[in-house]
């Protein structure tokens, strides 16, 4: 067992924050376990928790819904997580458009999370069409491709605010305005943006917005889709009439309460966190480049969120690096995917034009609120030896 464990994989998930856990506990036990749809006191206690969470989330995302373009509590629809919220946005918009007789077609960026890409693919599988919007070398969605998609007519455009693998930040306000002007619903996957960069939907005319709990210290299994126009989406799962029928099913009350608490904390702490994370990231990148001079920082040419760093180490493969780092007590993730067949670079790095040999050698480090300079120190201390070993291994295996 390594002496000290270093967790640099906060974009994958985070531990539940103690304040969040504390907020949730009453809703797990006798105190407020009720079904929020029940009119009795047990139900009312649970309902209060759900309503409070909606308020907190609406407030944190821009508040002041009354005409100012903010978010109203009733616009917050809870889901089982970011994946479901993304699916509801993409497929739900496509189905609604089909019912209206509008184009059964969706446009998503090439660097979206698989939850969006696979949902777009599902639309195509259902008889619709998917348009993949290419990105530039710095990861930005190309205006021309968006304009072309809008001209053809689409049910929804979906672009993530912050990319989960490289941290690239999209000009989301501009993209949203373009879609609004074209009269097309715009979905923003904000899972990696919220709590990391300033997020206020009062400035962003998007129709739909996804957040996820477990990336910000709430438990896994809870997320939300902000639905600013209920007519834009159709339900993709069906049941009782909860949440206006957009996402029926008895609400995950403890999860919802946890999400509300985590969102509140994340919004309050965002600026301070961003400053700390950016300092740690810059430190990490500078020091990694000092010990591995030919390392390449992916996506560094464009605007980036502060908490993610994608580093390719030539002559290695990320699976082996991950294994060696793990044995040294350091947790991060790779920029590659084990698809059927051999290890391939991730779709994100590929879409950004990162060469294959760098794509399969990419590591993602992502910071959370608990990381310190000692974590960077430990990584930088362990890395040179590991890189040397893995380079040797890769050379032998690819001989």
């Amino acid at each position: 067992m390594p002496k000290r464990l270093v967790y640099l994989d906060n974009a994958a998930t985070t531990p539940v924050r103690p304040e969040v856990l504390e907020a949730m506990l009453p809703y797990l036990g006798r105190e407020a376990f009720g079904n929020p749809s029940s009119p009795h006191r047990f139900g009312r206690a649970a309902r209060a928790g759900v309503d409070q969470a909606k308020r907190s989330i609406a407030e944190a995302l821009g508040g002041g819904g009354g005409g100012g373009g903010g978010v109203e509590p009733a616009q917050v629809i809870f889901t089982s997580g970011g994946t479901e919220a993304d699916n509801l946005a993409v497929i739900g918009c496509a189905l609604a458009a089909r019912d209206r007789g509008d184009p059964f077609r969706v446009a998503v960026s090439a660097i979206e999370h698989k939850a969006v890409l696979a949902a777009a693919h599902a639309v195509a599988h259902l008889g619709g069409e998917e348009i993949i919007l290419p990105v530039s070398g710095s990861g930005e969605v190309a205006d021309a491709a968006l304009n072309e998609a809008l001209a053809r007519g689409v049910a929804v455009v979906s672009v993530m605010w912050v990319n989960n693998e490289v941290g690239v930040v999209q000009p989301i306000a501009r993209l949203a305005a373009r879609c609004r002007d074209a009269g097309v619903p715009f979905h923003v996957d904000g899972v990696q943006a919220f709590g990391k960069i300033p997020v206020s939907l009062s400035d962003i005319p998007c129709t739909l917005f996804t957040i996820s709990g477990h990336k910000i210290g709430a438990p896994k299994g809870i997320g939300a889709l902000v639905v600013r126009d209920r007519h834009a989406v159709e339900a993709i799962i069906h049941g009782g009439g909860q949440q206006f029928g957009i996402r029926p099913g008895t609400e995950n009350v403890p999860g919802i309460v946890g999400l509300g608490a985590a969102v509140e904390l994340a919004a309050r702490e965002q600026a301070a966190f961003a400053a700390r994370a950016a300092a740690l990231r810059d430190d990490l990148e500078r020091r990694v480049l000092a010990v591995v001079p030919d390392a390449v920082i992916n996506g560094a040419s464009g605007p980036r969120a502060p908490h993610v760093s994608s580093v390719s180490i030539p002559g290695t493969d990320s699976e082996a690096l991950l294994m060696h780092l793990d044995l040294a007590g350091i947790a991060c993730s790779s920029g590659s995917a084990c698809s059927t067949g051999a290890v391939e670079p991730s779709h994100v790095l590929t879409a950004m034009g990162v060469p294959r040999e760098l794509g399969v050698a990419a590591l993602r480090f992502s910071f959370g609120k608990e990381n310190t300079e000692e974590d960077v120190e430990a990584l930088v201390a362990a890395l040179p030896k590991i890189v040397e070993k893995v380079r040797h291994l890769s050379a032998v295996l690819h001989r």
Binding site: E319, A320, M323, H324, D326, L327, C338, T340, G341, A342, V343, K389, V390, H392, L393, V396, L397
Partner: protein
């Protein structure tokens, strides 16, 4: 180097127990499962090597409190093992992919990872015993897997740990139950891991061109040269086979030869199936090479008894052995594993 050991965990009971016993013995154990081929929908769940097996290996590793990793060897396994499996059948031979998997994958590629991880040792769940740089048969005569290990690099043997080699299979299961391993009651895997339903012809059909001679019709002939029927691909036959042959003979008939050049499958009597000598190619030695006149025991098929013989000729490339007693169905492509009288594996080769 430390006393760190990299254990190949297939997700079966044998390698699970191997890992557990090493943990008990105080080694610094790292578990790894080799992903050897693509588990598509076309490959239904297998007792071994499936994604479920990776999950089982992970569960066992978690229970043992050791790290576990999945190593992707698909490219190299495809090249070193599956491609050879296909080309051997295409040449009218009957290969043993497990031998090449041990030689090239488990005890070569896996070693590269062990080296990178500073592992002094590698371990597997093989029923064979590595001791003082020498390899011996496993204690359980019914399970002994040393036959498949003749091709590994001699230098590796000193780094091999074989914790279940000195156990019987029932003892291994007992140990698994005692240790509370989820794999304790897992059924035995007896098939070739990348061949679903034991249907190797389907694998050949997928890898060979549709007009490959090995899968095309050809004559069934007797050793006397008489054509007695047609077959639909010599790759469907193996030496010693009796089932699925034309009938009408007074005595039982067996496949005694396959002639790929003429696509002939040759039938003969049981006597004609007996071999009194064997020639081995692709030699590998786990002891000092033998010389003409040396006595040796040779095993020509998995689970067949070894028979005594004597070296007639030996070059770096081939070894010719005279057998003291005839051996039935000596089959090109199978292995001849060489042992001394104490069950030490001396090396071996591929039957020419």
């Amino acid at each position: 180097m430390t006393d760190r050991v990299l254990v190949a965990m297939s997700g079966g009971v044998d390698s699970s127990v191997a890992a557990a016993l090493l943990v008990e013995a105080g080694y610094d154990v790292v578990g790894a499962t080799m992903k050897l081929f693509c588990y598509g929908d076309s490959v239904p769940d297998r007792p071994c090597c499936s994604l479920d097996s990776i999950t089982d290996a992970q569960l066992v590793a978690h229970k043992l409190g050791i790290p576990h990793y999945v190593l992707n060897f698909e490219d190299r396994f495809g090249r070193d093992v599956i491609a050879n499996f296909v080309s051997e059948y295409a040449r009218g031979r009957t290969p043993i992919p497990c031998v090449r998997c041990n030689s090239f994958t488990k005890f070569r590629d896996f070693l590269y990872h062990a080296d990178a991880l500073d592992c002094a040792y590698v371990a597997t769940g093989h029923y064979a015993i590595a001791r003082d740089g020498a390899l011996f048969r496993g204690r359980d005569v019914l399970k002994d897997q040393s036959y498949f290990l003749w091709g590994i690099d001699r230098g590796v043997v000193a780094r091999m740990l074989t914790p279940v080699g000195s156990l019987t299979k029932p003892e291994t299961r007992t140990a698994a139950r005692r240790l509370g391993l989820v794999t304790a009651e897992k059924p035995e895997s007896v098939e070739i891991c990348f061949v679903p339903d034991d249907d190797y012809v389907r694998v050949l059909e997928r890898h060979l061109p549709s007009d490959a001679p090995a899968l095309a019709p050809g004559p069934v002939v007797t050793t006397g040269g008489e054509v007695v029927g047609q077959h639909d691909g010599f790759a469907r036959y193996t030496i010693g086979q009796r089932r699925g042959l034309p009938g009408g003979f007074r005595e039982p008939r067996y496949v005694v030869a396959i002639r790929p050049a003429t696509r002939e499958v040759v039938l003969g009597s049981g006597d004609e199936l007996l071999g009194h000598a064997v020639t081995l190619g692709e030699l590998n030695w786990l002891a000092d090479p033998l010389a003409p006149g040396d006595p040796v025991w040779v095993q020509c098929r998995y689970r067949a008894p070894a028979v005594p013989g004597r070296v007639r000729e030996c070059s770096p490339a081939t070894l010719e052995l005279d057998l003291a007693e005839p051996v039935r169905a000596i089959t090109p492509g199978q292995s001849g594993a060489l042992y001394d009288a104490d069950g030490r594996l001396l090396g071996g080769g591929v039957i020419a």
